[in-house]
Subunit: 350 residues, 4 copies
């Protein structure tokens, strides 16, 4: 149950919207004549507080990262990121497959720091044309280890990027969890939209069947994106499938309440934090300090096996012969009862 | 209504399957532990009459084409295809974006002929390393103009490809329509699977929300595909979305009848052929001779405007100042009443 | 002897310069501190009549074409050129290897016409993001068949390119021969430099051991070139080798006469035209109408064999069972006696 | 004078060969009919003790690295190398520009160790298709810091590579210096040729105007190389320029003595080691322990400035405010008197 946040289908409201609109006819490719994609764009622009950005729908995270990052880079440029960045280690060289380079820093905890980024900048610009030139900054929120950027930290890296005239690309596969985390520290969607050259709002891991909404303010990427999306194989004929879902996720309910995108993320976070607090109380050792929907704990292989068999989890790292980092992920679909069940088991294993 | 075959959502049976399985938990990426993807693979292998092929699920046609074609080619090789081939004109240079070349013949009607392919072969191999070497053959069924390959024609190009040791890649975005067409002339899925190095069974244009099922027998592509799919951004985290749908499409009903994939395609064809016959009887001039779900007619701009306003169609080519080719597409969702309505209008315009 | 214009080493003056400067120490990579490269740049800028262009030295024609063309194109753009263009047929997909597309017109004689280019433009921009967008124009002077652009023809294609805001890239592997041809019709190096976004002055085929001098005015390519040249493997450590040779080729003699670059080219042209006139007088049929250092003649296979055995030539095309196009190339190294010998043989074969 | 080993032109014997053969006519592209390239191939095969390898001539190191490394890798594979490897830091992302990935280890001294390589292997193969798969091993001899592989160390990494079925690619830009170094410890050209899938014998930095000779035994690269060389822009029309030089470098003198390639390298090493010993005796601190033609010393900025002004050197690293690593390079052209002059200056600075 805690294996990941993409085990189930869609959140009920999202699925209902797909069912309800199924027989309507829409134009293809999320283009003009697809009223749902158009409405979703409007809602997302409003949520971002900007009407001067493009909103485009991607099929998944790797596709979004590849189009976004390589669209911001010229052939001979690279993306500055942490060494554990998804684009550096988990995407099978997708950035290189488009001819661009990843420039990892020595940051160890998933947060890109201005100091480490500056070291990369100095090194990469030390011999002119003989080195890949930094061309953008890549960060993710949440980070690979569930870390959540607060506003101060986020502004610091954006300031650094600005000082070198580099656009910031933010991978928001779990942006919902990040921005609804108690650790968000004043970081809002509006602020992200204000400072990033491009970023995406992840749907796959927050209640959609699939889909990420890319918000683009950088002029070069605004011009390139439509073509790159087709060229990189990331454009759906039935674009409506993405439009309908994002519309459902960002439409405000009649009572003026919160759009379900945020409610789903908040729900995942709450379960995850209850899970964390429970395990910590029982003496399990957290790995890192995630305030978001993914929780990481150090344990023996036997404990991991017991958890895995009973309620699903994933081995994230092997630390030693008999010490592993296990990952427990909550999603919109995780119920309180699921957490209870896990904690009961944990009590026995502790 | 006749604008294209990806205007609506999913066929009812497919949508029901998504709803029914929504709360189940499945492993990600269509991998082991996703029972629906596994079942869909089994069903497709059975339908192909081969258990020695890999079946992989792609997000869409361009993604499938890019992964398949570039996975069959080495860096310095190209795909022999007709000049109107989708990969040559409608995919924004996606093959080149992966460093490979498209080698168009002078075939004018969408069917790749051994004679024209041989001319390309001779030319491209005439100066050794100075020219892109042909590395695979790309065909589509149906063709860009709705043409349907019969078995003799298909075997001829496969024989030619065999004689040069080139694998055949078949773009089957509309393979359902092709194989259920009265013009299929003995060409079966089993035979396609027997002769192609790789091909795909299109879902997007035949009743799925999205998805194409790639059938791979070529050893090099079997090995490469999983990595290439991730690297090219074409791997869904919720792979289940594709597995569930293809399972629904290829599961045989309890009464032993036809899988709905074929029934949906047949339905689209029947409406399209009734539409064609009606228009021909009224004196409209068909463009080409499509026996599949897309129909092309030459008409005046005013006629096209009238059709477009009343029931949706697309301008495929401009032939002259006031002569256009209009395309009318039927899908699983097209009803007899829709065809009636179009024919009534046509009677007035004729 | 007439096989091609890259059979020998360097012209004597160029070789002498290499020998004379051999023991000097120069900075690497043609960069600051390499006085010969700097002087060569100055001379070429002066010959072009522009001091606002960058001059960079490439190892050969394919390298120059790849860096220049792909540096002018964004990922999703293509180069409009004739179907027989070198980048389309003779460079093993080098443009595609850098992720870009070649967009051939139907021009049949090696000269790109505004009419054919406009047809490509209209087609490629007819469905928006679904097609590769034209991003630059590629022409070569001389053309593949030895054709020479005169000023009017050159201005026509440049005007067309300007009207679509496309930079013109000119492949000048044989620019010396072109500009010294009697058919140049007022086209000068200054005028080429004024209108092209980038072009190169070929050295390999006009008396250098190797090397092409790229002249760049397009702002995007000026910025990219140094990095792209390294990234594409086209930057020599001993850049001096190129600088010394181009300096020798473009330095004006003490008596104020013509730089040897032009003298060498003129010499090749004169021999070639004498060869042409001789063959024509004897009744041999020219293939096309080349006024430059390459001459093409239709003949029987037996005649071709006789020429090939006696004085070297190349089979350019096979026209039929016993009809071929043979190519005879003159270079700076071709002597009058060589032409005499060939014409004597021709007299026997005619 | 000690700035680098590519400041001058060619060694006298090499230059003489270019002059002596200048007027001969040879076929292009180092292909059949170019007797000098053919002879050079024979000589190099004989020196390698293998007649089952291909020998191909490249224009420079980056071109050779790119063609060799990317020719050994499939699209989704990467080259395991040290973090300071030339392909990782000094070639402007050239491997990525061809769609492949560089996989650096944490080895700090330029020698790739089996232990560090194994860590990369384990990590990169830990999540299947989600990570770039190691596809070859890249090492250089000498290393970036002038290190020289002895036979035991070389066999250890080759054994490791064999155990994972990975071909070894050896960048031999300074292979002459490495194999004639007193530290070569039994490593011979024959042994390198026996164990590497491909490697090159550097000419640019050992007395040629330009050129590297690639020796290829790996079947995939043997097939691909000719095409890739053209496609990557690395094929010279006047291939003779490379053939003539390598022939001169590897032809044995009439008296049965050593080919000049080895004599030139030995000469550079001897000067470099005398320089090293002199500086060490005076108390200068060597940076690393180079037994080859490059020497690295830690010193103050003022000392570096004095050396630079008087006899040329390069700042390799900045270690701190006033501590730098200076590089002194000897070549075939360095004379004893040059070393004397440097040591005299050093005595004053020490």
């Amino acid at each position: 149950m805690f294996r990941n946040d993409y085990s189930e289908g869609a959140a009920p409201e999202v699925l209902s919207a797909l069912v309800a609109t199924n027989d309507e006819q829409s134009a293809g490719y999320t283009e003009e004549g697809d009223a749902h994609s158009e409405r979703a764009r409007e809602l997302i622009r409003a949520a971002c507080g900007r009407d001067d950005v493009d909103v485009e729908f991607c099929v998944g995270g790797t596709s979004a990262n590849v189009i976004g990052v390589t669209g911001l880079l010229r052939d001979w440029e690279g993306a500055v990121c942490t060494r554990d960045a998804h684009i550096n280690v988990h995407e099978t060289g997708a950035v290189a497959a488009c001819g661009r380079t990843v420039l990892p820093t020595d940051d160890a905890d998933g947060f890109l720091t201005p100091e480490a980024a500056e070291r990369v900048w100095r090194f990469q610009t030390s011999t002119g044309r003989h080195m890949t030139r930094p061309g953008c900054v890549y960060i993710s929120n949440t980070t690979e280890l569930g870390g959540v950027w607060d506003r101060a930290r986020f502004d610091a890296i954006c300031d650094w990027a600005d000082s070198h005239d580099l656009p910031v690309f933010l991978d928001g596969a779990r942006l919902g969890s990040a921005l609804t985390s108690p650790a968000a520290g004043g970081l809002t969607l509006e602020h992200v939209a204000e400072r990033c050259g491009a970023f995406y709002i992840g749907g796959t891991k927050n209640g959609l069947l699939l889909g990420e909404a890319m918000v683009i303010s950088h002029p070069r990427l605004r011009e390139s994106f439509p073509f790159l999306q087709k060229e990189r194989g990331g454009l759906l004929a039935k674009g409506r499938v993405l439009g309908v879902q994002f519309e459902a996720a960002f439409e405000r309910p009649a009572d003026g309440g919160e759009a379900i995108y945020w409610r789903l993320a908040r729900s995942a976070n709450e379960r995850a934090l209850r899970l964390r607090d429970g395990l910590v109380r029982m003496g399990f050792e957290p790995y890192g300090d995630s305030p978001s929907n993914q929780q990481f704990f150090v344990m023996s292989a036997a404990q991991r096996d017991a958890f895995e068999a009973a309620c699903g989890c994933e081995t994230f790292y092997k630390l030693g012969e008999d010490r592993v980092v296990a990952r427990f992920v909550c999603s919109w679909a995780t119920r309180d009862a699921d957490v209870d069940e896990l904690l009961e088991l944990a009590a026995k294993l502790a």
